[in-house]
Amino acid sequence: MRFARIWFLAAVLALSVPPARAETALLNVSYDPTREFYKEFNTAFAAHWKRAGGDAVRVTMSHGGSGRQSRAVIDGLEADVVTLALGYDIDAIADIRKSLPADWQTRQPNASAPYTSTIVFLVRKGNPKGIRDWGDLAKPGIGVITPNPKTSGGARWNFLAAWAWAEDSFARDDAKVRDYMAALFRNVPVLDTGARGATTTFVRRGLGDVLLSWENEAYLAQQELGRDQFEIVVPSMSILAQPPVALIDANADKHGTRKVAEAYLDYLYAPEGQRLAAKHFYRPIHPEFADPADARRFPKLKLVTLQERFGDWRATQARFFTDGAIFDQIFAKR
């Protein structure tokens, strides 16, 4: 089998070429709607790091549904930092992979969320169905587009925002809240696996009357896909979505990148990081660093936080989103 052996050798040779790692390489594993923001932020950080006397730094990005990304890090994707949609996905990395401490969220200011966002409605131009608030979403004949809370971080924020509004509106009557949620999900014709997929379905495929979306995603969609075709509707209340960031200690130490990775995360809180976040429609935690024109774009609305309403992510996940929990119950009742 001389021939086969040659092929085999060739395959081994080809396989053993290590993936190119530049002098200083950082891997940031993130979720879907942060693509544009981190593209610009990485360039800014590289310049900053160089000015500060560091090596040339190249940040590689990996984007995908927040849950899938978390899973990949657990399975061995060697992220130096993760910037995901919700705390639970980083909790899972800490719990299962144990590659960062369980109290990771206390290591950075504002529960490790350098920017926040919220959930708003994107409707078609002129808002033909007259959708103003969460209550309208459960009305018959309204098509609601949201991704699947099982696979999308944004969709979980959508769900919790609707739930919080319903609790307030129905005086915390659990049965009524559930009825409302069931009615809302009856209006959902498609459950995309990620926020981007849902946006595409709504915008490109013309499906549904309203898209439940990250605020930043709604602005971006409007900007990228047609300001004259879509309008943003701000509901009476929503949830403060806090997409957290964290250093994956085990990987950073293995790569010897802890210093630069920590600087990377710190830079998110720095004036330049905050300015870029605002530019990309994320609400900066230090609005004073944002371009005033950017800051003015964020409407004021009543925002509840996860902590005050639902507790931490581990509890919230168990209550609502694990197999057989409230989301599954509501969907079964649909």
Partner: protein, 277 residues
């Protein structure tokens, strides 16, 4: 040289080729696939029962099978028609059409899914023509069938073509001399001869359809209990860090796929014996 005397091997290379085949197959296919039952073994009997009787799981598996079955059935008819036309008739661009048949093998499934969704969505080129008829394709189970028809189309065509090509014209002529009409000649003489090939293609399209993921998720709608396919459910279970449940569903699908393929191979062996393929 006992082994040699027991089974004469005139042509050399039995040991090396079979050895390489088995080693390669074990390393690339069997060992990795063994992870599925291995992982599913971690479940207790009650957990297994809970998974395999869960309404949503059953619906997803049922949908994957049902849609694949429907698509394979359509492909059996469509594929036979295409094979017939390609083998029997000469028309402009015949070669081009013949080459196009393999496109679904080659086009990335995700691209196919996006294109099909774009075409069949309510505002798509085909979708907007079907909408007035009250027919919704994209984001319904029907959309899944359409995607699976695309994915499985080559199988029946490619299994039936060579059989039709090799078909003895005298057999058809004999039928005609016995007074058979065109349709009777096709149904009574041609169809039984190409039957095993059609069935093989059907089963292959079915086996492929059950597991298809990339092209389906873009057009399916993915609603649990409505348009959620089994592979998507596996992906969801994985993101819930529930590997054992994912492996259990995968095991059910693997078993089904293996049973189907074994049936195909036995069917082919049987057909060879019966009509000397």
């Amino acid at each position: 040289m006992f082994a040699r005397a027991a089974s004469p091997r005139v042509i050399p290379g039995f040991g090396p080729t079979l050895g390489f085949t088995l080693a390669y197959l074990s390393l690339v296919v069997l060992l990795p696939l063994a992870m599925i039952p291995l992982k599913a073994l971690g479940l207790s009997g009650a957990e297994v029962l809970a998974i395999v009787t869960d309404a949503r799981t059953l619906h997803a598996i049922g949908l994957s099978f049902g849609a694949a079955l429907a698509a394979a059935a359509v492909n059996a008819v469509l594929g036979t028609l295409l094979a017939w036309v390609l083998v029997r008739y000469d028309f402009p661009a015949r070669r081009l059409v013949d080459a196009l048949i393999d496109l679904p093998f080659a086009l990335p499934t995700a691209v196919a899914g996006i294109s099909l969704a774009a075409l069949y969505a309510p505002n798509g080129w085909i979708g907007e023509r079907l909408a007035p008829l009250g027919l919704k394709v994209a984001y319904t189970p029907l959309g899944i069938v359409v995607a699976l028809i695309f994915v499985g189309l080559p199988f029946v065509v490619r299994t039936v073509e060579p059989v039709l090509e090799a078909l003895d014209a005298e057999v058809e002529e004999a039928a005609a001399t016995l007074g058979a009409s065109w349709f009777a000649g096709f149904r009574r003489v041609v169809l039984p001869l190409i039957g095993p090939a059609v069935l093989t293609g059907f089963a292959m399209a079915l086996a492929r359809g059950i597991g298809e993921y990339g092209s389906v998720i873009f057009i399916a709608g993915n609603l649990p209990m409505v348009s959620e396919i089994a592979p998507l459910l596996i992906a969801i279970r994985l993101e819930e860090y529930n590997d054992a449940a994912a492996a259990m569903i995968a095991l059910l699908m693997l078993a089904a796929a293996f049973a189907l393929l074994l049936t195909i191979n036995l069917l082919q062996a049987w057909a060879r014996r019966r009509i000397g393929g």
